[in-house]
Amino acid sequence: MMSLVWKLLRQHISIAQLAGFFFANLFGMFIVLLGLQFYNDVKPLFSQEDGFLKPEYLIVSKRISGVSVLGSEESCGFSDREVADISSQPFCKSVGAFTASQYRVVCSMGVNGVAQFGTDMFFESVPDRFVDTELSNWTFSPEDGTIPIILPRTYLAIYNFGFAQSQSLPKMSEGIVGMIDMLVVLRGNGQEQRLKGKIIGFSSRLNTILVPESFIQWSNAKFAPEADLTPNRLIVEVKNPTDDAIVQYINEHNLELEDDKLDAGKATYFLRIVTVLVMCVGMLISILSFYILMLSIYLLVQKNTEKLRNLLLIGYSPVRVSLPYQILTVGMNGVVLLLSLLILYVVRSYYMDRLWVMFPQMQDGSLWPALCLGLCLFLIVSTINIVAVRNRVMKIWNRKE
């Protein structure tokens, strides 16, 4: 019997109008969802949290000018008095010194036991309490002979885009760095020792090759017992990194703050603006298409007023005669949602492939944000549709049409 009602009420349905709504809404919905999804996928690249350094940790060094390079060496390092002065500042919670290796380090790396390249390098350490990693990973004992290492994230980029490309080596993501074999040779004080290195992660805030403090103490004592250990850089834990007093102190004492957050912040800001703009355009298209649908349905109800009225007069309830149009609109909204999610899925896997080539460390993310937003929009629009159709039918019931 419902099919008879439908047979009646589908009269005057304009395929052209509904198709117009359908494609406009599909387009709008897709843009809105794409905007959100892209923003969510790309955002982590800009605001990657550093797993090893908390945001309250600042890295402070002396500003290097031509004079200080040519002048006395100690002006580049921090004296005990200067360290004490910083730790006495009200914004400061605690201070730790960077300690550098004072002997020669040669390191060669390879994959699957085949050595690929070797280089001279150095190590630095900070007190272990500043390194935010599991302590079991961050220890060194001479018997074991494996050095845990944290590298600057830029090294990975240099390897992936400079080195790997030109040497036709495989690109590497952060997840598989554990596969890198690292052989470290330490020389000094007339001794030489071979150790294994193990990269446990990357940091975008540290411009150094970081190893545990216990390793530096052991190795400096063994290979360079007489070296001067004046620190060049300090790591400072502050109460509030946005405190103005920090900037003031830094400027007054001719110090420098290593800060990589600023550029990322700007980029995120622009990314957000662009995303909001794109989503607004999509939303506008969606709203206009929604308007087309409402007009189309109103027109349909208008043209079928007499049929609707007769159905009501022979005992059909308003709920029952509203149902076909409600199913029609909600069904179309549903199909639009599914299709736009499907298109989004295809487009997303395309751009994600591209992004992976450029940023191998990118995480997979998920479609959940777009899915949730799409569902919300679907629910809101469908509810309005259902209520609007019902109101129209009640107008007929009340003889206002």
């Binding site: 019997m1 008879l4 009602v5 047979k7 009646l8 009269q11 049929k307 007769n310 159905l311 007069l313 022979i314 005992g315 059909y316 309830s317 308003p318 009640m394 019931w397 003889r399």
Partner: protein
Amino acid sequence: MDKIELQNTLPCVFEGREVQSEIWLQDVTFQKGETYLVEANSGTGKSSLCSYIIGYRKDYLGNIYFDGKDIRQHSVSDWTNIRKQTLSLLFQELRLFPELTAMENIDIKNGLTNHKSRKEILAWFERLGIADKQDAKIGRMSFGQQQRVAMIRALVQPFDFLMVDEPISHLDDNNSRIMAEIMMEEAQRQGAGVIVTSIGKHMELPYTKTFRL
């Protein structure tokens, strides 16, 4: 529902006019099981009366009660149930669906309550002489044929009262007689009251009471 009462009822458009009527501005009761004739001249508000009682229009003064309940108090679902279960109306303008066939027009109503079997419906088609028209679109049938379809549609539901608004205006005497027979058979089976309106030719029935509108 056992009775329909009209108390001082008057269409709003007649307000302030001299009205000579046995219905308007009177206290009138229609009882279940009885048969009534409402005779009217054109423009005396016959169709308005039907519209008030079926709950389609409310532009009247005074009150109408179903079993003592003012019908202005009825909710939307009350009215839906009344139209489905209690009160059946054969509209003067028929209100059939021209896009559907004769049988589909019956089915769309019978489907609400499944009151009559296909066999019973076909028997009525047969007796009214439109058996060959059951699959014809209503829009292609004459008004007289449509009137017979509309009568069948009015009968495929349970009812306590049946109102028929000028049911035989386009029928010959033979068909009028058959229609009256079918109508009264069904009304008696259901123990229902029947209210027939007419502006001239009317069904020959044993009326309990005749009102001049």
